[in-house]
């Protein structure tokens, strides 16, 4: 089923939502990302795979400038969102992050109620004019994250009281609620059991209709299941980027082949 879908979608993708040119990232003296060039498409799931420490999470965090919070991190090159360089001096990272949402490796709901978790983003960005609109956004986001039916009767209970899988879906709902254009996911399933993972993956597939989704994953099966495009990172280099089924069935670079066949990593 997955394969059919991928074939279908890989035909009509033209415009790049995010376009990275010659991106270099340094942590102090150490270079973590070397010469990365990549075009990420709209309404597509792009998977970043590669062994630990290969720079895939670092690159992901460059897209919404989360690396700004790390004092020693330094970025060169350009990353364009809809043709605008996100590292331009005039860009306020706060505004950027409202358009490029993020879901983290470990579920990190705020220690507040489920409702407050989801409504926080819309509130600070002024997306709702009144309580009714806010309620609507919360419901829509929770439905979008396939969590509504489980939590609709306990919206005022703390988000931290949910199970791990529910917490992660709550975090997705929280990210979705700010109505971003791109959703970055940094190993969203690494702390989840297979059932919760399945639910989140299903969710990612649905999210694709609205956003461009970029997911970092350690699981090649997951990459194969959810993504249409895959980028393989190794030692800071983007080694290979292309259609997911191409990468997994017909890798062009020997390093990619070794990795997906389990010889390195």
């Amino acid at each position: 089923m997955n394969d059919m879908r991928i074939l279908e979608r890989s035909v009509d993708q033209t415009d790049a939502k995010i376009s990275a040119k010659d991106v270099q990232v340094y942590y102090g003296d150490k270079q973590a990302i070397k010469d990365v060039n990549v075009d990420i498409l709209d309404k597509t799931v792009t998977a970043f795979i590669g062994p630990s420490g290969c720079g895939k999470s670092t690159f992901l965090r460059c897209i919404n400038r989360m690396n700004d919070t790390i004092d020693v991190a330094r970025i060169e090159g350009s990353i364009k969102l809809d043709g605008e360089d996100v590292y331009d001096k005039r860009v306020d990272p706060v505004q950027l992050r409202a358009r490029v949402g993020m879901v983290f490796q470990k579920p990190n709901p705020f220690p507040k109620s489920i409702y407050d978790n989801v409504s926080y983003g819309p509130r600070i960005h002024g997306l709702a004019r009144n309580k009714a609109e806010l309620d609507e956004i919360v419901e829509k986001s929770l439905r979008g994250a396939a969590l509504w039916n489980e939590v609709k009767d306990r919206l005022q209970e703390p988000g931290t009281g949910l199970s791990g899988g529910q917490q992660q879906r709550l975090c997705i709902a929280r990210a979705v609620a700010t109505q971003p254009e791109v959703l970055l996911m940094d190993e969203p399933c690494s702390a989840l059991d297979p059932i919760a993972t399945g639910q989140v993956e299903e969710l990612i597939d649905q999210l694709r209709s609205e956003f461009s989704v970029v997911i970092v994953t350690h699981s090649m099966q997951q990459a194969a299941r959810v993504s249409q495009k895959t980028a393989f990172f190794h030692l800071g280099y983007l080694v290979e980027y292309g259609d997911t089924d191409d990468i997994f069935t017909n890798p062009r670079d020997p390093r990619t082949e070794s990795y997906i066949s389990g010889r390195i990593g």
Binding site: T69, R97, G101, K106, P109, I124, R174, A175, T178
Partner: protein
């Protein structure tokens, strides 16, 4: 997993039996048992020391909360107290305590005669010194506050002198009284007789908490009223200065400042500041606030400023530690949905750090409450008899402080002041206990899980 068992002790392999601990294990267990014993011993010693301390303070100090009073009818003769007869407050003030003292002496003599008390070799001095020197002043204040009393005979509760009071608290005996110039066995016998007549009694003494300090000769009238007020005023100053400054400084250092050499130096120096001896802060306060800025001596504002300097590092260190303890994932989460740095700090990080900040602040305040040395240098050890007015003006009036009052009283010759000092320590400990309980309560109330 099989039914086969190795018979214990049947082979050289026997040392591997789980039923017999080997030499290594025995040694390890023995050292563990020893370590536990040391720990337990340390706890026991600490608890014993604490109990001894508390026991001594309470047995010494509980007496300060009880005081011996003589209840006698005093005739407030209008002729003597208001010769002009117009009840003019200005004229009334011209009558000195001496007149009231004579009046009280007359009243005591009257009571003795009326009750038919006979004590062998009782001198006039014994009778006149039975009541406190402060009693006349207290009576005068009472009359000045309420001139209507003049001409009436009022039942008065009169302080008796410190020695007689000490006699009922076990501090003075007949034998010691015989050697004492300030009292005599006859005076004590008189007191006993008055007690039998139901006129003299030792009762609960609220006045200890509300009275100002009293001079060397009048321990029975001394109280911690001004000291409590002075300490309270200083705590207000510390609270309104140290908490906002300390919390703001920590938030800036922890959340906003870039980590570089300068912030490293600042960080190290704040830690160093916490270790600076408190008397150094006193000298600083003397130089900067009194000599340079010209603020008044003995004033709670100066004490509060000095204690603010002392408390700041404690509050900053505690606040930074609790900010650090908030998991970075919460900050990431807030930034990830597009919150600004400040929104992420004030909406998410600060609420989570609040219990730690509150605890640190209250512990800093408690430390400041018990601080003595810097206050000695800025003149808060002065003898203060007049209550400071209400804040904010009162902050500039002379006042004392609880720990300084304790220090002050332990310097006095009369043993009755030892009791007062221990009483003041009890008051101080109760305040500290209350603050710590508040800290625990707030911690429980605001603690959230993530």
């Amino acid at each position: 997993m099989t039914d086969a068992t190795i018979p214990a002790g049947a082979s050289p392999q026997a040392k591997d039996s789980l039923l017999v601990p080997d030499a290594r294990t025995r040694k390890r267990n023995a050292s563990e048992a020893r370590f536990r014993a040391y720990g337990l011993g340390a706890i026991v010693i600490a608890v014993i020391m604490l109990l001894i301390l508390l026991f001594t303070i309470i047995t010494d100090g509980i007496g300060a909360f009880r005081q011996t009073y003589l209840t006698i009818p005093v005739t407030l003769d209008a002729q003597q107290l208001d010769p002009s007869g117009n009840r003019d407050p200005e004229d009334l003030k011209k009558i000195l305590t001496l007149t009231y003292g004579n009046m009280l002496n007359g009243a005591v003599e009257g009571v003795i005669a009326e009750s038919g008390i006979q004590v062998a070799d009782l001198t006039e001095k014994d009778v006149n010194d039975l009541i406190s020197k402060e009693a006349a002043a207290q009576l005068r204040n009472r009359v000045l506050a309420n001139p209507e009393l003049i001409g009436q005979t009022v039942e008065s509760r009169v302080l008796v002198n410190g020695r007689v009071d000490g006699y009922y608290k076990g501090r003075v005996s007949m034998a010691s009284a015989a050697l004492d110039g300030n009292t005599s066995p006859q005076q004590l016998q008189l007191a006993d007789a008055l007690k039998d007549a139901g006129l003299l009694a030792t009762r609960w003494n609220w006045a200890f908490l509300s009275n100002p300090d009293a001079s060397d000769q009048r321990p029975e009238a001394a109280g911690v009223g001004i000291a409590i007020l002075g300490s309270l005023y200083m705590m207000l100053v510390v609270l309104f200065l140290a908490v906002p400054i300390g919390v703001a400084a920590s938030i800036y250092l922890e959340e906003f400042a870039t980590k570089n050499r300068l912030t490293d130096i600042i960080e190290v120096n704040i830690s160093n500041l916490a270790a600076v001896p408190s008397i150094v802060f006193g000298i600083l306060g003397l130089a900067v606030f009194i000599n340079f800025s010209g603020l008044p001596q003995s004033a709670p504002i100066v004490g509060g400023l000095v204690l603010t300097l002392m408390t700041l590092p404690t509050i900053i260190i505690a606040t930074r530690a609790s900010l650090k303890a908030v998991p970075p994932s919460i900050r990431d989460a807030a930034l990830g949905v597009g919150a600004s740095k400040m929104q992420s700090v004030f909406h998410h990080v600060l609420p989570l750090a609040l219990p730690g900040i509150l605890t640190g602040t209250i512990i800093g305040l408690a430390q400041a409450l018990g601080e003595t040395a810097p206050l000695l240098l800025i003149g808060m050890v002065a003898f203060v008899k007049n209550f400071p007015s209400a804040p904010p003006e009162g902050l500039f009036d002379p006042a004392s402080a609880l720990p300084v009052q304790v220090y002050n009283w332990t310097q006095r010759a009369d043993p009755a002041f030892i009791e007062r000092a221990s009483g003041a320590i009890i008051v101080l400990l109760v305040f500290l206990l209350c603050m710590n309980l508040l800290a625990i309560y707030l911690r429980r109330k605001f603690e959230r899980r993530w």
